[in-house]
């Protein structure tokens, strides 16, 4: 079925389609970080193989880097070893590395777009499931495991069975106070955690077109939480405006040539998808997860659901167990749930636009005394740009900790974790059991809701704070 954005990008990367083997796809950009790469480099060296295209490989340190005093000695010896190993591997193979302390260090999925490395029509992979983020530019971008990382290092290709193409069409206007995060949580609630398995989602419709690039990245980022292989949004003038002038964006005549090409990267009129879901943007509300997977969510105006009210026995069982883990009772109003920690950051919501949205809410207000509140910019550049605007001062005056860039509490590898039974409002992407620390209880929210929640100490939206500055 030709004529879909996904097919166009897929077909232009086919290197070979041998009989009886999955097609071989060329990879335009391979992002590498410290956690999923050491075993791949080791495998390469044991087989006596080279990195085929170090010039198409870019590395940084993000998953287990300290966010306090990042240039000091790393107290965790295992993290220090992984970081040292990445440095050594990049030097040995001539791979560009943005290490701790450099101006472009940060979460892989924040720095790729920021540097203009992520462009429409490209294939982008990384040993990280949130690589789907880059699909916001009309790239085909997906997460891979370490064996595949080694395969890409050695061959600059991947074997991939062609996924199905799913359309998620969101038409209409998002109500005031409803953000891209709420939009994608709404989509995941509709699809379920496995609803996108085997598919690449193209997000379409007027509500998607109206999003800025940061919002589109938030949506594509969480495609994996619905099980999808990737998420994509056709590039348009919003995309081109974001890319123009970035370090790795095409320049001069190349820019014009690239634009001509990129404008062709749309799904043609009349193309048919393998499946399609339609969502009315006006039906969406600020959304909060109550359970232990990202599909278990409810509106801010809602209450913790009663497992007995759910459809299937499996859903009831899962909800029961989730509520037990989360320490929640059915029927409790969401606004009555208090939190201990607020985390603003991650590849989902750690970009400048996210920090601005949160700062607008907390400006002139104080974090509730019972709440620990942390802001972790997605990259060193986001941090510097936020500081140039004075956002660090806004957060600090309100009582937030202002940290250095990294994945931090999204997955708690670097020591930024929740204690057992501690409850967080988090702008990250996963509320799995123990995700932010053993026994920790995570609720996924937008930056605006996280900020308002930090102020009240209970789940809140900015409108709830009216007048109370």
């Amino acid at each position: 079925m030709s004529g879909r954005l996904f097919d166009k990008v897929w077909e232009r990367h086919l290197v070979a389609a041998p009989d009886g083997e999955p097609p071989l796809l060329y990879i335009d950009l391979h992002l590498v970080h410290e956690v999923t790469s050491p075993q791949a480099f080791e495998g390469l060296e044991m087989a006596g193989r080279q990195v085929r295209r170090p010039d198409l490989t870019v590395a940084t340190m993000d998953h287990d880097v300290p966010t306090v005093n990042p240039l000091g000695p790393i107290s965790d010896p295992l993290a220090a070893e992984q970081i040292a190993r990445l440095r050594k591997n990049c030097a040995a193979h001539g791979i560009t590395l943005h290490p701790l302390g450099s101006a472009e260090q940060g979460i892989v999925h924040v720095i790729g777009p920021q540097l203009g490395l992520t462009q429409p029509g490209m294939t982008v992979v990384c040993g990280d499931s949130h690589t789907s983020t880059h699909g916001a530019f009309g790239a085909l971008a997906f997460g891979i495991g370490t064996t595949e990382v080694e395969h890409v290092l050695a061959t600059q290709t991947l074997r991939q069975t062609k996924p199905a193409a799913m359309a998620v069409t969101v038409d209409g206007d998002l109500p005031s106070g409803v953000t891209a995060k709420d939009l994608v949580l709404g989509i995941i609630a509709r699809l379920g955690t496995g609803g996108g398995t085997g598919s690449v989602i193209e997000y379409r419709g007027s509500a998607i077109r109206a999003l800025d690039m940061e919002g589109r990245m938030t949506v594509c980022n969480m495609s994996i939480e619905a099980g999808a292989r990737a998420g994509m949004i056709a590039p348009d003038d919003t995309t081109f405006a974001f890319l123009e002038g970035r370090k790795h964006s095409p320049k001069g005549a190349d820019w014009e040539r690239a634009l001509d090409d990129w404008r062709s990267l749309v799904t043609d009129e009349g193309a048919v998808f393998d499946s399609e879901v339609r969502i009315d943007a006006a039906s969406l509300r600020p959304t909060i997860t109550w359970g232990t997977n990202p599909a278990q969510s409810v509106s801010i105006d809602g209450a913790v659901p009663d497992p007995d009210s759910l459809g299937t026995a499996a859903e009831r069982h899962a909800a029961q167990r989730a509520l037990e883990y989360m320490g929640l009772r059915p029927g409790t109003a969401i606004r009555d749930i208090g939190v201990d920690t607020v985390f603003i950051g991650s590849c989902t919501n750690g970009r400048l636009a996210d920090l601005r949205a949160a700062a607008d809410v907390v400006r002139g207000r104080k974090v509730s005394p019972s709440v620990r509140a942390i802001v972790v910019p997605g990259s060193a550049r986001v941090k510097a740009e936020a500081e140039a605007e004075g956002l660090d001062a806004v957060f600090a005056a309100a009582g937030f900790e202002w940290r250095s860039a990294g994945c931090s509490m999204c997955l708690g590898m670097n020591g930024d974790i929740l204690s057992p039974r501690e409850r967080s409002a988090s702008t990250s992407n996963r509320n799995f059991e123990g995700r932010q620390g053993p026994g920790g209880r995570t609720h996924l929210v937008s930056p605006a809701v996280a900020a308002a929640t930090a102020i009240t100490g209970r789940f809140a939206v900015p409108a709830d704070l009216e007048g109370a500055r």
């Binding site: 965790d76 560009t96 370490t146 496995g194 994996i224």
Partner: protein, 204 residues
């Protein structure tokens, strides 16, 4: 990679769906730079519950894991596959698998046997009745067998995955047979596509 044609052994049943890779191997374990030694971290949070299936005395001899749908969702960490293998598992039977987990498993030689919901429910029942039952996952025939219970049901496994498991093939070796096609492709790539200057391998 070692060839796998059939897996025979005891099985452990975890009757939950959407088991994510954060449960299979928590992030604290991802700091190792080796592919081995992850077994003690397998389901480490859930193992604090003495009744958890993996704590049964016979579980350490198990070769087959039976679980609910959407097994391996979430993070792309291949460490989840290594942890299952390090513990002793050679096959997982579930009604469905997350895409990245399935790819990682085949790459590392762990069999992902996608059986019907009915087959998986039947296995849960059989294993509840007889936790010692020998379960066979026959990769060549794509069949799950529990002779003691008279169970013999098919499972799905893509042809290419089956071939790789049976032959124990190195994927990179297979791909490098197409080195000329890769080089031809590279010669045709548009000039504007981004690349980093190879000389500047450490940025300022």
């Amino acid at each position: 990679m070692r060839a796998v044609s059939r897996v025979d052994g005891r099985a452990v049943a975890i009757d939950r769906r959407d088991i994510d890779t954060d449960q299979i191997i928590p992030a604290a374990w991802l700091k190792r730079v080796e592919r081995t030694g992850f077994g003690p971290g397998l389901f480490s949070a859930w193992r604090s519950d003495p009744d958890f299936a993996l704590n049964a005395p016979a579980a350490s001899e198990a070769r087959v894991l039976v679980a609910g749908a959407n097994f391996g969702c979430g993070s792309s960490r291949e460490h989840a596959v290594w942890a299952l293998q390090d513990f002793g598992f050679e096959a997982v039977i579930a009604p469905s698998f997350a895409d990245i987990f399935r790819g990682n498993s085949i790459g590392a030689g762990l069999v992902t046997a996608q059986a019907s919901e009915e087959t998986v429910r039947a296995l849960f029942t059989v294993l509840a009745d007889d936790p010692q039952a020998t379960v066979t996952v026959d990769v060549a025939e794509r069949m799950v067998l529990v002779p003691s219970a008279g169970l013999a049901e098919p499972f799905a496994l893509p042809d290419y995955a089956r071939w790789r498991l049976l032959e124990g093939l190195d994927d990179i070796g297979i791909t490098l047979r197409h080195a000329d096609a890769i080089a031809d492709f590279e010669a045709r790539r548009p000039a504007w596509l981004p690349s980093s200057a190879p000389a500047a391998h450490i940025s300022a």
